[in-house]
């Protein structure tokens, strides 16, 4: 009995040593890959950052409204954001490669999945950026046009337009990365439909006189335009 226990312990020890002997190089390789990956990712981050600074990337982002959105959300400036994204994409790639070297069955295929996910993530980011740009453009165009057309509450109208475009872009981005796709699409459809229905009912019930004023302004009776108090030219 004692002999059996001793053999089992010895065998376990041998197995442990064998496993360690087999795993240790892999662990070292994994650690090396992760460490080298971190260094490369860090270097890339700084290269990208300096490149973007040199290209005055932040000025461009400020011009199209992305800078303001980042500021509102308490996020770092655009060049820092891009360099951070590059850092994490590269380092996570190395990290998963390193984990793959360990040969754990449960973790197999993660690198492949990550490689498939990265393009979708990049497309989603592009959709978001374009959404922000379009939303800001639509907001500004609506605000200026509403002010010049004497539409009541121009900031509310333009803010609603921007929110709708941003929601649309956000839903498209989430759909692109397939994150809770069904929930996102259903929630978007319900929210969008509810907002539109609510606006229509609110405008129809409470805004009849406003609608009349707006329509009178947009479609004046013939000769009305000549009733200005003075000529501007």
């Amino acid at each position: 009995m004692t002999q059996m226990v001793a053999d089992a312990v010895r065998q376990a020890g041998v197995n442990f040593v064998d496993t360690v002997t087999m795993l240790l190089p892999r662990i070292l390789i994994t650690v090396s890959i992760v460490a080298v990956g971190w260094v490369i990712a860090w270097a890339l981050k700084w290269v990208v950052r300096w490149l973007l600074i040199w290209l005055r990337f932040n000025n461009g982002c400020d011009r199209i409204g992305v800078g303001a959105v980042l500021k509102t959300a308490d996020l770092p400036p655009a060049d820092t954001m891009v360099s951070l994204i590059v850092f994490w994409l590269v380092w996570v790639g190395f990290l998963l490669s390193g984990v793959d070297v360990l040969g754990f069955t449960a973790l197999e295929g993660m690198v492949r999945s990550f490689a498939l996910f990265v393009p979708r993530l990049l497309v989603a980011i592009v959709i978001l950026v374009l959404g922000v740009v379009c939303a800001n453009f639509a907001w500004r165009a609506t605000l200026i046009a509403a002010v010049n057309a004497r539409v009541p509450s121009p900031r509310v109208v333009s803010g609603a337009v921007r929110a709708l475009v941003l929601i649309l872009a956000g839903a498209m981005a989430l759909d692109q990365i397939a994150l809770a796709r069904t929930i996102v699409l259903t929630a978007f459809a319900i929210a969008f439909g509810a907002v539109m229905l609510g606006l229509a009912i609110a405008f129809g019930v409470g805004g009849g006189s406003i609608a009349r004023r707006i329509l009178d302004h947009w479609f004046p009776e013939p000769g009305q335009a000549e009733r200005e108090e003075f000529r501007h030219l």
Partner: protein, 421 residues
């Protein structure tokens, strides 16, 4: 030289039959049946009465009227007007009317008029607005004589204006052009004008015609071309300028956009000239304007002032992208201050120049830049009319002179920033 491809064979035949002329009166038209006859008669009476020995032609470039305008031009005579009394003409004034092809608009019509004038070697060219109902025969010698007698190249009109008449010109275009181009020209948007063949030839040779770089406001482009390329400007006093009311005109936002596009485009085009131009010089003037102007009822601008206060608050985030902190603070203070609206000259000059820089730097689409300026322009107009709505011409003139000086003072800083951008 004129681009003869602009002129059809039939038109060329007519022009060859006419031969050399001393005076060409050009009338660009588009559905002006209600007013064009009087304009043609006045032009004919002006030529016959004041230049009886001159060889002359009235040339109508029509943009495709469907109300019979070309026929009316062709058939118009002075026989039943009784306006020709000074003397009988010794020569017949030829009349030619032709449709033009290409881009619709006054620019294409003027190009054709210049091409015809070049081909006929016209010494003096007069362009009239067919919509004007107050045109008299005296406008013709007023626009021709500076070209023939004083060798002026471009003769801009002078109209008597009350405070509320044409604030887009008096509050914005005039002082801006004065400060930028360095000439005290009263009417840079020349509704009517006279010019020499030399200037017409210069305009014809500009590559901008073909490239589409000439803005819709071709009148302002011609003013800029004349001033920036050393042509001799002159001004001549005409009577009041009244326009027909019958036709549907574009709304203020469209007019404002068009004018601002033209202003901005011209300043971009002539930047090398105006950035180095010094203080404004006076432009020689012939004739005198009437001392009194019919004021009409004082316009009620209370609504405009209230709208200005609302608009500045609503547009604040957009204005932040265009205006400096100091100017924005000034505009906000003017909008929110209790009592009558006061938008000072210096603040208005700074506002306009900062919008000009925003346009140059393309901080947002150029259409948005112009449209954002419109509520501020209305605020400035309301402020000016609250102060001078019922003032006499001398007081209004002093106020406008003061505005022009404020623009001149603001220009050097704007020019420096333009160069940095």
């Amino acid at each position: 030289m004129a681009d003869e491809s602009l002129l059809s064979d039939d038109l060329l035949r007519q022009l060859v039959a006419v031969g050399h002329v001393d005076i060409l009166v050009g009338i660009p038209t588009l559905n002006n049946a209600t007013t064009v006859v009087d304009v043609v008669r006045a032009a004919q009476a002006g030529i016959g009465g004041y230049f009886p020995r001159a060889r002359s032609v009235i040339f109508n470039a029509d943009s495709g009227s469907d109300d019979g305008t070309p026929d009316l031009v062709r058939d118009a005579t002075t026989d039943d007007t009784g306006t020709v009394t000074a003397s009988r003409p010794l020569r017949t004034t030829q009349r030619i009317t032709t449709p033009y092809h290409g881009l619709p608009g006054k620019g294409s019509a003027l190009r054709m008029i210049f091409a015809v004038a070049d081909l006929l070697s016209a010494d003096a060219i007069v362009v009239l607005d067919p919509d004007v109902t107050s045109l008299t025969p005296e406008w013709i010698p007023a626009l021709v004589r500076p070209v023939r007698d004083t060798a002026a190249d471009v003769v801009a009109p002078l109209y008597p204006r009350a405070a509320a008449d044409g604030p887009l010109v008096t509050q914005l275009v005039r002082p801006l052009v004065r400060a930028a181009y360095g000439w005290r020209l009263q009417e840079p948007l020349m509704g009517e004008f006279g010019c020499s063949r030399r200037f017409a030839g210069h305009c014809l040779e500009r590559p901008a015609w073909g490239s589409g770089a000439i803005p819709d406001g071709v009148d302002l482009w011609m003013t800029g071309e004349a001033l920036a390329h050393g042509f001799r400007p002159a001004q001549t006093a005409l009577g009041p300028r009244l326009l027909a009311h019958a036709r549907t005109r574009p709304g203020l936002p469209d007019v404002f956009q068009q004018v601002m596009d033209a202003v901005y485009a011209c300043l971009e085009m002539h930047a090398s000239y105006w950035l180095t131009r010094g203080p404004a010089e006076p432009v020689p003037c012939t004739g005198t304007l009437p001392g009194a102007v019919e004021l009409g009822p004082r316009p009620d601008v209370t609504g405009m002032a209230q709208a200005f206060a609302r608009d500045v608050v609503a547009l604040h985030p957009v204005l932040q992208k265009v205006l400096s902190d100091a100017t924005l603070a000034g505009v906000t203070a003017a909008a929110t201050a209790p009592g009558p609206l006061v938008y000072p000259d210096e603040l208005w000059a700074a506002t306009v120049f900062e919008f000009l820089l925003a346009y140059h730097r393309a901080v947002m689409t150029r259409e948005h830049v112009a449209q954002t300026l419109l509520p501020l322009y209305l605020g400035r107009t309301a402020s000016f009319l609250q102060q001078h709505g019922s003032s006499g011409p001398a007081v209004v003139q002093d106020a406008l002179e003061s505005l022009g000086q404020a623009f001149e003072l603001a220009k050097p800083q704007a020019a420096a920033q333009w160069k940095k951008a």
